[in-house]
Point group: C2
Amino acid sequence: MTLNGIAARSERKDCLAADETDSLARFKGRFILPPGVIYLDGNSLGPRPVGALERIQEVVTEEWGVGLIRSWNTAGWFDLPGRLGDKLAKLIGAGKGQTVVTDTTSLNLFKALASAIRIQQVDHPEKRVIVTERDNFPSDVYIAEGITDFLNSMSQEAGVRYEVRLIDDELPLSEALDESTAVIALSHVNYRTGAMWDMAEVCAQAHAVGALAIWDLAHAAGAVPIDLVGADADYAVGCTYKYLNGGPGSPAFIWVNARHQDRFWQPLAGWWSHANPFAMSDSYTPAPDINRFLCGTQPITAMAMVETGLDIMLDVDVEALRAKSLAMTDLFIALVQQRCGDHSLELMTPSEHARRGSHVSFSHPEGYAVMSALIARGVIGDYREPGVLRFGITPLYLSYVDIWDAVEILRDILDTRSWDAPDFKRRNAVT
Amino acid sequence: MTLNGIAARSERKDCLAADETDSLARFKGRFILPPGVIYLDGNSLGPRPVGALERIQEVVTEEWGVGLIRSWNTAGWFDLPGRLGDKLAKLIGAGKGQTVVTDTTSLNLFKALASAIRIQQVDHPEKRVIVTERDNFPSDVYIAEGITDFLNSMSQEAGVRYEVRLIDDELPLSEALDESTAVIALSHVNYRTGAMWDMAEVCAQAHAVGALAIWDLAHAAGAVPIDLVGADADYAVGCTYKYLNGGPGSPAFIWVNARHQDRFWQPLAGWWSHANPFAMSDSYTPAPDINRFLCGTQPITAMAMVETGLDIMLDVDVEALRAKSLAMTDLFIALVQQRCGDHSLELMTPSEHARRGSHVSFSHPEGYAVMSALIARGVIGDYREPGVLRFGITPLYLSYVDIWDAVEILRDILDTRSWDAPDFKRRNAVT
């Protein structure tokens, strides 16, 4: 199957033909999407798996309704964070017992940063810089700022201060990393542009200066092959409601390299992180394992649906998923450039496969209005400041002909300037 | 209705008569409980409200399934933390715009402690003691330890250290509070004993030495009348899955007195706490309101069911609820003392109404086995170390005759020593 061939020929029937031979096409039946919608926003909120409703009904009526408090044992609620973590591990190249599903990505990043900082305080107290990216997902920058600000509030007398250093066009990674770097925290795939870091290469660069590497996999887990252990990463966090289809706001995850797990606990040390939570001890002893990265009681209903999404992903050949993702993003880029080339769309996503995640972004001076017009026509992508049209290309429930049809609608909107209407420009909401 | 009269007469028919005239009896129809169960563990996990299944089906099929990413706007997902917070406000004596439903109780306690500590660092930098209770819910003690340990990791050179001071039999509150106290963090109702602090009195004592007062309302919200503004509290956190019937592990809440809201943000400062999250700015500006106590994206399915539980509570006359709770706990205590008095049960819950929450605890040398035997007979309470039988008395779905019947089963188990069986003693699980 020569996908670049499809793009070059630019015929709808070639897309239909490619769908005929697509080994992943059968996965479309495992999701329920509304009619008339081409959903290009699975990188923001994955759609509803077929089994999600049945699972949540079971949790509400049987586990909660009948089992009541007993379900902590009888329905396995206690084990959910670790059980889901071990399922997820297969998608991110983690070993067993290294991952828990819990809390939010931002909170888990705080835990990872706090733990990494403590290790450095002991091993290399002079390392007090957190390197991250100006164009990182903003919450990740804010969490880094929050933790440094909180620690620095203690240091007025000591003169010991933590610092956040942002890499950008002026300050590339190679210059930002130095002996003062305690930790580097990057998103594997950039939320805005879809650009992807070479995880192993960055880990090696970080370790060369004695820094620890934390990865945010929010836009990568379930989208691209990931090998955390192979890349020798130190920590990773991420989200289950995007490519893992866990449901709106479903709990996030944290992975910790086995070499760090018993060194330090993290300060969000609620009872679930205790060695023996139900001993009800009045002093803290951290769990001897990854459970020390838990905090409080998790939302069981939301956790349960994470499993439904993960179980689909575990049936998928990740290499086939990546091949289809690249073929589709190639096709999408080529079609937009061919058919919408005379409009002011600028590709923001890297052309090089090794540098590309699974979403494609174009900037446009009227990006917000164009995306609003697309959504009104049933092509649901999303908009990110400034001027960015973002399209999630999710191979499990999208077909090649969906890509063709989406670009045709985009072309029509641009050719007819139908985006140029007050309704589409009104920023009453975020798309 | 003279409930002490009922207890004194000790006849089942008097309980039936009391149920006939109970103005809250109609609320039992708003919950679904399994047949053959007397549920005395609503202080640990409230039962399923009638509307919960329908609500979650709507969220999964319509809001998630059809609305997809658009539901952040069209289904009001963005506003959920504040909207639920304002509903909850009526139950805890909070003003509008002072409460959000989010994260877990432990995480929210961390935020409250961090914010309070920052205020004291500026106003009274010499105040570096967190006073809490040895018998507080352990997670609260661990969070206080975690935050002090994390801050102290910065202070090796400066000699400035935070400290957790635990009040207990040796060190009463009046002696623990002094000019070094930065903050006092207590549970309004004790998770083990059901003992209740006088909130206004403790706040006054704290303020008299310049300390701030944080309250954990986990075992109080929905159980007893609470007036945070009236008591002049500084912060409060709590849980929605106990007396508020929000579902297993449903998100918690945080309330911040209006006078503190714009002073400091907290270090778990994810994008949801930003003044303009979707501006995607690379630097942090806290929201001008209670939203600065949010962090990341919330589990929408679990949040939605919190509302179902809250909507029931908002129909309840809280004074009537409290009156029935006290009548029932009086009855329960009296019946146990009358009918099980020759066994080794020791009442741990205060007799004085003003000092009692809505659960009753007895210690017993074989508490675990006794509770296991009770659960096997359909009387579901729970067990807490060491040796504590804990019974949640929830007036909305319990009748006086339920109390009578539960005590009869307890009496039978004790009289026949049916708890003395290997199955009931095996600690394979927490009840």
